[in-house]
Point group: C2
Chain length 197, copies 2
């Protein structure tokens, strides 16, 4: 009988996939206030890494909020679940050998630490995108601070709800003191270093 | 002021990523009874596609149940949500340019159609892994049928809970009449054809 052969399974592993893509895989987790520049930086980085032939994917509100997490709202439980799921999806991508750039406010240290706990030390890097709330509010690229001030958005991070500054980020990028080019250069060097064999 | 430049975003697109990987991306959704051979076939296919230099990822119970969907149980609502999330994650991978092989019993037509509705016609293929329940129960690779018969598992698909046979699968593979090699060959040709430009 060939049953045993039929049911014998071998698997392509994370290491196999990393070898194919030509680099290690990891998640670079951008955290910071709305308007601090997380998405802009993550997008710019993806462009640069793509040009260098890295296999990348960017997770942000655009592809998560209306899809996987469209059932979640802004209660505390839902905010925790939001970040938990993004962490688990990041883990799948890392398992697939892909370099993940995740850009979410993720204001609470406890939630960020839950994500970190899913990964080995060399697979998760917390990048704190630092920018004073006054500057973020001045930029207000999505008009969200304005809405928060008008009371149209409740519990907006930085206005009515706290942002817990990372205590030990793997990298800190200040987007008030540095321009996009400088920030990108810093990040590109950091990420390439971490993805080396 | 450089603010406008700082906030100008360009994006790497799905098409960019597909070009980099050298093939289109899509999800091949294996549905069928427990023991029908879904995971075995999906794993074997991933090996073959990997050898042909495709960028692939396999989603199955092993990497979903204890991670992303560990909060879900076996109520009807949870079963729907289980498949919905897997569909959304598949969509992210397809957006990342990856060929996804998903292997889940997914017994209900309505749930499978929800997943299908997330994709364009050329991005989602339903593969019905056909095998009589008697044969699946004889194989019983995980001992689940035995537990279901003993009443240790409730509402087991094929025993106490129905499996809705796909009405119009994109491909039907019968694992009782064909051996692993034959099934794999059929699938490999099918998938390669669908991923051509």
């Amino acid at each position: 009988m060939s049953d045993n052969i039929f049911w014998h399974q071998t698997h392509i592993t994370k290491t196999d996939r990393q070898k194919k893509h030509g680099h290690k895989s990891a998640v670079f987790w951008f955290t910071g206030l709305s308007g601090s520049g997380k998405s802009t930086l993550a997008n710019q980085l993806e462009k640069e890494l793509f040009a260098l032939n890295y296999s990348t994917y960017l997770l942000d509100g655009d592809n998560i909020r209306h899809g996987l997490n469209k059932d979640l709202h802004f209660s505390n439980a839902d905010r925790v679940e939001n970040i938990r799921r993004i962490g688990e999806v990041s883990k799948l991508f890392v398992d697939a050998g892909i370099v993940v750039l995740s850009a979410f406010v993720s204001p609470f240290e406890a939630d960020r630490n839950i994500v970190r706990s899913l990964f080995s030390d060399s697979e998760f890097y917390e990048i704190y995108v630092e920018c004073p709330v006054e500057e973020c509010e001045k930029r207000d690229p999505k008009g969200l601070y304005k809405k928060a001030r008008e009371g149209k958005i409740k519990e907006f991070t930085g206005i009515q709800s706290p942002y817990e500054i990372p205590e030990n980020p793997d990298l800190l990028i200040n987007t008030q003191q540095n321009n996009l080019e400088q920030c990108t250069e810093l990040l590109k060097n950091f990420i390439q270093e971490k993805l080396k064999d």
